[in-house]
């Protein structure tokens, strides 16, 4: 039994108070172009937090700060701090290696991006990176991840076939399996269903709700209904600033800022 899921069952109700990721005064620059302006928010552990806002407001940028993806390209700059519990590591801290950060954060992209490898090898990729080499351990963890991603039954008979032969929705679930296989602290989703049909979308939504038993989820979505369906907390961003952050229920029914209200009632964006 996984100790984390055990603890979540025990402490389920109290989780709201415990913070998983604390973002403080985070600013981000593409070269000289500032895209995030001093964003601060506490992302609660074992909950689904949705990021909404009009196109170009910086949702993707914020998400990609958390696993330091911006370090892949030259000229990008962060300011502020992002601490991750339980050890309080500052992922933007001096000398912090982005590779180490990325091993603790899973990421699922807008378009499914399975590697040109077998289904099995796709899921085993992160495990191997974390030093797991024994076939038995790998088998066990690959199966576990595929089950959690609700795709095991569809692929168990063809684990060693190329992942490209799967449908789009299956590929995306495979990518989720790949992201959760290593037991990351947080999984980041960037519009994971925008390239999928409604049935595949609802499968993924169920999956995300299921996932929060075990991991903290941060999801960018353009679909307000989706945010309402699956998230516990919602953050509304506008022009690189965090305008409002609160429980999904409250933010959708009784927003405290006029911009939020305009946005969720469809007056702009």
């Amino acid at each position: 039994m996984n100790p984390q899921s055990a603890s979540s069952e025990v402490t389920g109700g109290v989780n709201q108070s415990s913070t998983k990721v604390r973002i403080e005064k985070l600013s981000f620059f593409y070269g000289t172009h500032q895209v995030l302006k001093s964003v601060s928010m506490d992302i609660p552990a074992l909950q689904v937090t949705a990021l909404i806002g009009p196109s170009g407001c910086g949702k993707t940028t914020l998400l990609r700060c958390l696993n330091r993806m911006h370090d892949l390209y030259p000229g990008n700059r962060y300011e502020g701090s992002v601490h991750v519990q339980p050890d309080g590591m500052d992922i933007l801290g001096p000398g912090m290696d982005p590779i180490q950060v990325r091993m603790r954060f899973g990421m699922v992209f807008q378009k499914p991006n399975p590697f040109p490898k077998s289904i099995y090898e796709n899921v085993a990729y992160g495990l191997r990176l974390q030093g797991m080499n024994k076939r038995r351990d790998l088998d066990e963890r690959v199966e576990k991840a595929l089950r959690e991603a609700a795709i095991w039954d569809e692929v168990k008979s063809r684990l060693h076939q190329m992942a490209h032969n799967l449908s789009g929705g299956q590929q995306q679930r495979l990518c989720i399996a790949r992201a959760i296989a290593t037991d990351p602290d947080v999984v980041l989703f960037d519009e994971p269903t925008s390239a999928l049909d409604p049935i595949a979308t609802s499968k993924i939504e169920e999956l995300i709700v299921e996932l929060k038993k075990r991991v903290t989820v941060l999801i960018v979505t353009h679909n307000l209904q989706q945010a309402g369906r699956i998230s516990d907390m919602t953050a509304f961003m506008y022009l690189g600033e965090l305008v409002e952050f609160g429980s999904t229920n409250q933010l959708f029914t009784n927003p405290s800022k006029p911009q939020t209200e305009d946005y969720i009632s469809g007056r702009f964006g």
Binding site: L72, Q100, R102, G106, M107, F115, K117, L129, A179
Partner: protein
């Protein structure tokens, strides 16, 4: 506009019809060239293959078709081609691949912009100059390390041939690696892999058919390369797989015979077409395989 002027319209029509034929004829030219090569090789080598018993091509151990007591061991020629090609590939494939990975995944764009045209220049050097380099620069250098190395050696020719092929492998390989979508790389980086890991585990398999095409075409080039081996590997056919010795390749044999007096229809004349036919079949196989792989790559990406 032209509908109001029937004459010019008819003229246009005639020009159009004429040009279609002119252009179509141009398109045929390439087919005619291929046909010319195949037909010439077949008809001119026919007498040779007709008069030499097939088993002697295989069982003889020497290739001396021009001697009074001729020997027809094709394998003596193929050995030379095999060894020089092998040495060349041992240089070109690893070096070409490492450079491709470096340029596509590691080097800053500014460096890549400088290096790629320079590599292009390297592949534009006439092969006779490479031959000069192999014989008069590399061989003396190698002789300092290994004094028994003869003046003509397959090692020296093969090494230089490898250098000649590197830009080819690199540029084809780099192109195919760069066309692997960034999204795939990001997926692997997001799991915490390093650059080299992403290059080897994700980009390499993603670009595999493109890289395989580069390798196969490199083999074809090495097999068909002529001047470097004719100058630096020696012109005597010899049954050996030791790269430290000298031996003629299929191509060097053709050069050696062509340098002498070559009456039409003589056995020497027929023998170079026989060697050419064998060479054609070998390279045809590699070229077609390379073409198929490249096409598959373009369709996949």
């Amino acid at each position: 506009m032209s509908t109001t002027r029937p004459f010019s319209r008819r003229l246009n029509h005639a020009v159009e019809g004429l040009m279609v034929w002119v252009l179509r004829f141009g398109g045929w030219a390439s087919v005619l060239v291929s046909l010319g090569i195949v037909v010439t090789l077949v008809t001119e080598s026919w007498p040779f293959f007709a008069q030499v018993p097939f088993h002697r091509l295989i069982s003889d151990t020497m290739w001396t078709p021009l001697f009074a007591d001729p020997q027809y061991g094709m394998s003596a020629l193929l050995a030379g081609t095999l060894v020089t090609t092998g040495v060349a590939l041992l240089v070109a494939i690893p070096l070409g691949t490492v450079l491709a990975i470096y340029l596509s995944e590691f080097a800053p764009a500014s460096l890549r912009e400088v290096v790629k045209p320079m590599l292009e220049l390297l592949s534009a050097v006439p092969t006779v100059v490479y031959g000069y380099f192999a014989l008069l620069t590399l061989t003396p250098l190698l002789q300092k390390i290994y004094p028994d190395l003869p003046q003509f050696s397959m090692l020296s020719a093969g090494l230089i041939m490898g250098i000649m092929i590197v830009p080819y492998v690199t540029s084809l390989g780099e192109d195919s690696m760069r066309s692997v979508p960034m999204l795939l790389r990001e997926g692997a980086f997001a799991l915490g892999d390093g650059k080299l890991g992403v290059a080897l585990r994700v980009v390499f398999p993603g670009a595999f058919s493109g890289l395989a095409a580069a390798y196969v075409l490199a083999i074809s080039r090495a097999v068909g390369e002529t001047m470097i081996v004719a100058i630096a590997a020696g012109l005597q056919p010899r049954m050996t797989i030791n790269p430290l010795e000298s031996a003629a390749t299929v191509t060097a044999f053709i050069v050696q015979v062509s340098l002498g007096d070559l009456p039409h229809g003589s056995i020497g004349y027929q023998s170079i077409f026989a060697a050419g036919a064998v060479l054609f079949l070998m390279t045809l196989g590699f070229n077609l395989a390379g073409h198929v792989l490249r096409r598959r790559f373009h369709r996949a990406s």
